[in-house]
């Protein structure tokens, strides 16, 4: 496993890997998105309490889950990059960050649109929304720090520290806001129940995997861009570009 990881630490190998993974991610993602949308928008029956309004769940929950997953992914990549001094791990983190931020923004906006008909208000300071908002700022903070240093390596490593500290912070924020929100608002609001009927649940699972693969596809693209930018003086890049 480690030799494979180490091999991927080589820029041309990683580039090739990303290139080959791209179409798999892309087409599977599209297929699953189509299936999920049909399942969620058409096949799933209206909810007993929320009617057809609940269908926002098929966009909202996957984006929220991805927003958290991408940050965890960035934290792991940052740790790998710092501990094993792999430049490419930092490239992965940098490539993933804007995507994670986009998912976070999407989660916030769709959550807001869901909140209005369901709770009567566009915004609620509940644990999930608030900690998601904080996560959005952490993403922005990472992108600001990683790009603030003239030296790429310094920026990478400074960003990596921030990603790791943020990773510890996100659950702390969530818990503290949950505590605060339950103090002031009584019952916490559940955005998805685990006792959903199968006809409602499967499109959600499909959409979650679809979002993950879509992220994977875009990551292969952005990662290649990062690699080309960082390794622009390398001879393998010259050879590649000449083709």
């Amino acid at each position: 496993m480690f030799t494979w990881l180490h091999k991927l630490g080589s820029p041309p190998v990683l580039y090739r890997f990303a290139e080959r993974a791209a179409p798999w991610c892309k087409w599977t993602a599209f297929a699953l998105l189509a299936a999920g949308l049909v399942g969620g928008l058409i096949l799933a029956p209206p909810d007993y309490q929320q009617g057809d309004g609940f269908r926002i769940i098929y966009i909202h929950v996957p984006s929220a889950i991805l927003s958290l997953f991408v940050f965890a992914y960035m934290a792991v990549a940052s740790a790998v990059g710092l501990i094993w001094r792999l430049r490419m791990a930092h490239a992965v983190t940098a490539a993933a960050a804007p995507l994670g931020a986009a998912f976070t923004l999407m989660a916030l906006v769709t959550g807001s649109l869901w909140g209005k008909p369901m709770w009567g208000t566009f915004w609620v300071w509940d644990a999930r929304l608030t900690s998601e908002l904080v996560l959005f700022f952490i993403y922005l903070g990472y992108m600001a720090v990683a790009n603030a240093f003239p030296d790429q390596r310094t920026g990478d490593r400074a960003g990596a520290i921030l990603a790791l500290v943020g990773a510890i912070d996100v659950p702390i924020v969530h818990y503290s806001v949950h505590w605060w929100a339950t103090l002031h608002q009584g019952a916490t609001l559940k955005l998805s129940g685990s006792n959903m009927p199968a006809s409602m649940l499967w499109p959600l699972l499909v959409m979650m995997v679809a979002f993950l693969l879509y992220f994977g596809w875009l990551l292969t693209i952005r990662l290649r861009t990062e690699i080309l930018r960082r390794e622009r003086r390398a001879s393998w890049v010259m050879r590649l570009a000449g083709q």
């Binding site: 058409i42 309004g53 269908r55 649109l113 693209i221």
Partner: protein, 55 residues
């Protein structure tokens, strides 16, 4: 779903459901387009640099 009309109106929640999906579409398409553009620009720049080196 019982009718196309029901599909469109989303049981009265159309004003919320469709914009939510629209946001999803915009983010997906936008990030996809922007990412691909970034890659093609990077490839073009690398090609130009490779040509300059050859000279």
């Amino acid at each position: 779903m019982h009718s196309f009309h029901e599909f469109l109106t989303m049981g009265g929640f159309a004003a919320y459901v469709w914009p939510a999906y629209a946001v999803g579409l915009v983010v997906f398409v936008g990030s996809g387009w922007q990412s691909r553009r970034g890659l093609s620009k990077a490839l073009a720049r690398a090609a130009r640099r490779a040509q300059e080196v050859e000279k």
